[in-house]
């Protein structure tokens, strides 16, 4: 009997292949949609992490109190040692030092005197080491408008609009005038090697990115950094782990009472991002529920129709003596099989593509003017543990439910009526 059923199943594409394909597609869309929704909602968090907050951030206690003033006199010293010790204790994180600073960018004429000058906001990161993670984090290659990325400590990138305003081009010299860590006047010559689009008006008006070594020289901050960002190697913010990590670090440092003792903050404890994360979860839940509901109805429909169209066959089986209960059971068993097969296949394919999307992202730059440092146009999916089973709600439960409801018709109609629907 089972072989008969299986043969019938496999030979009749409309009973097996079509529903299984429909279920697979439906599950695949559901799972990919879920990963996409989570990924795109977390995009803002990811941007903040890469550019400003890290998944965790280390600063001196004194710096943290007035961080919005960028007080480099209160910066971390011996940042290499700190970074190495953090990397040893927390090897799952990339640790990237950053310096934030302000000043004037002075453009010399042929006599070395000021031709033009403008206020500038600066950020320094490790952008010349070939395998530096900051080159990726800051999205520099994609945001480059003209020129190249810096290859030396005295090369910098400025915003394209700022370059236009100052009338400078690639290869032109520019002197940074600012304050050293000790309050002295800093003058440092850079070469402009490229222009970028930041995506935020305030930065596009006057901002620059330079290598951290050059800026450490410029601001007399040997082995210093304003902050040390920790970013998990998976690229994902681990919401439970990060605060624990920060608490553990801070507890170890609690005995050191000095105002220059480093403190660690998790992303959700900075810039009200904890609230943002709650908001994301809220929207994600709403969106995912919507999609899963719609997909469930679609696949329930599939299961329902798949059974409805088999009334003719069922009539024959009843006529040859199979019991209604047995037929019903076999219908449900078939739908379980199809649902499982479709769900497993759909989930597997979805996770494969989602993994690719998580790694490489989806470029929406066609819809946007251009890529920027702050707002990358590549949106990444995000696979979470939920992605492994969320497809089974529509793929298995809905399909089986549809079949179970349709199968009830067996008990309502007479054999003759079912037979009539055989249409042979």
């Amino acid at each position: 009997m089972i072989r008969f059923l299986l043969k019938g199943l496999i030979r009749d594409r409309s009973r097996s292949l079509l529903p299984a394909v429909v279920v697979s597609i439906g599950v695949m869309v559901t799972v990919m949609m879920y990963c996409w929704i989570i990924g795109s909602l977390y995009e803002m968090i990811d941007n903040s992490a890469r550019f400003e907050t890290g998944h965790v951030k280390v600063m001196t206690r004194a710096y943290q109190e007035v961080a919005d003033q960028i007080p480099n006199d209160l910066a971390i010293l011996n940042v290499t040692g700190l970074r190495d010790s953090l990397a040893a204790v927390y090897p799952d994180y990339d640790w990237v030092p950053r310096i934030r600073f302000g000043g004037l960018l002075d453009i010399p004429d042929e006599n070395g005197e000021t031709r033009d000058q403008g206020p500038v906001i600066g950020m320094a990161a490790d952008i010349i080491t070939p395998d530096s993670r900051d080159r990726t984090f800051l999205n520099l290659a994609q945001a480059l408008v003209t020129g190249d990325l810096p290859q030396a400590a005295d090369e910098l990138l400025i915003s394209a609009a700022f370059a236009a305003k100052l009338g400078v081009g690639i290869g032109d010299p520019a002197t940074l005038i600012g304050s050293t860590m000790h309050g002295g006047m800093a003058f440092y010559n850079f070469k402009i090697v490229g222009t970028v689009e930041f995506g935020i008006l305030a930065l596009d008006r006057g901002a620059l990115i330079a290598d951290i070594r050059g800026v450490q020289d410029a601001l007399d901050m040997p082995d210093g950094a304003s902050e040390l960002l920790g970013l998990h190697k998976s690229g994902q913010y681990l919401r439970e782990e990060a605060p624990l990590m920060a608490a553990e670090f801070n507890q170890k440092k609690e005995m050191e009472k000095g105002e220059f003792t480093p403190v660690m903050l998790a992303l959700q404890d900075q810039n009200n991002l904890g609230v943002m994360l709650n908001l994301i979860d809220y929207f994600a839940a709403i969106l995912v529920t919507m999609f899963v509901t719609v997909m469930s109805i679609v696949l329930w429909n599939t299961g329902l129709m798949g059974s409805l169209r088999r009334y003719g066959e069922i009539g024959v089986r009843l006529a040859i003596g199979e019991s209604k209960g047995h037929i019903y059971g076999s219908l449900v068993a078939e739908s379980v099989g199809i649902g499982l097969a479709g769900s497993i296949l759909g989930t597997a394919v979805a996770l494969f593509f989602s993994a690719l999307l998580q790694q490489y992202g989806f470029d929406i730059s066609g819809k946007m003017q251009n890529a920027t440092v702050m707002i990358p146009t590549v949106i990444h999916a995000r696979i979470t543990p939920t992605a492994y089973f969320i497809g089974f709600f529509p793929g298995l439960l809905a399909v089986v439910l549809g079949s179970m409801i349709a199968g009830l018709g067996i008990f309502k109609r007479s054999t003759a009526e079912l037979f009539k629907e055989l249409e042979v």
């Binding site: 206020p119 008006l201 109805i297 429909n301």
Partner: protein, 388 residues
Amino acid sequence: MILRLAFKNTLGAGLRTWLNVIVLSIAYVLIIGMQGLYRGMNDQASQARISQELGGGQYWHPQYDPYDPMTLDEAHGIPPSVLTGLVEAGMATPILCGPAAIFPEGRIRSVLLRGIEPDQQILDLPTAQLHSDHPLPIMLGARMAASVGVQVGDELTVRWRDSNGTFDAADAEVVYIFKSRIPTIDVGQIWLPLQRMQTMLAIPGQATMVVLQREGDPPESTTDWSFRDLDYLLMELKAMVRSKSVGGGIMQGLLLAIALLAIFDSQILSLFRRRREMGTLISLGMTRGNLIGLFTAEGALHGIMAMLLGTLYGLPLLTWLALTGIPLPGYSDDWGFALSDRLFPVYGPLLVLISTLIVFISVTVISYIPVRRIASLDPTEALRGKVS
């Protein structure tokens, strides 16, 4: 005749039809809902800035550049007479900006002073709180107050230079701390009465900008004070919402695709089930083209019925949402736009029309695609129930 037949067949299919229609209607309502959400988000954030910061547009002093603090010392003057006329008529309000320093706990901190008329009605700011007997009453946003560590009643030493460069300093009293959704009027800013600030800086009657009321058009006369309209002032916000809505558009597209999957599946099923019917109709003289049209019309009718059903429950639901808003957990002002604790979707007729057209066209196309194979149907094979 085709349409009547299609209508009869569609309704005659009973549950199958209604299932598809329900799914499609949900997708339809959700698409409109999501579009409304993005538009509401944009509008709300824009409205917040318009009501509390931008008014109906601003006239700026020629030297004023909000992104260059170096210009502030020079960026003030007597507004042109056409603008002072507006101010006197209550249709605009002047604001004076200037750099200063405060010394919370003995540490110097740069701030921006903003002088505003306490009685102004142009911006939704609690400026009336600046009426005080204290010689230097100031108002801070909640973020600024938290950052500086002050509360109402606390005194804060403020140091500034007047227009001649002479130092002055005084102990200001925080008379009010306001909550705002907009960081740009809060972080790093201190609000005080305009005339007081003009006296402090020794620049009587001068301002940095004049903010117009929201209603009405700006005056046409040209002055060297440049007019910044709302499109200019909200440029960055619009760009940010656009970037968000691209992701949203992708989600809506996929949502529609899921619903169309049901239609597609249903059409495929029809092809299998109704072979004999198709053969009969062709034998009775119906052209293949008409037959394709019939099946396509049946599919498209799902779309029409879905839109009607969607309107039936979607209209009251979306209207209710637009009126009551969607609660947002917690304070979301650091998201980059200014939203309140409720998000109010905004729907426009164009939005609904475009969404309707998209759904209808998509359904029709998806209905057509699988039934094209009818063109190669052999009627005799079909009459015998076989697929050719």
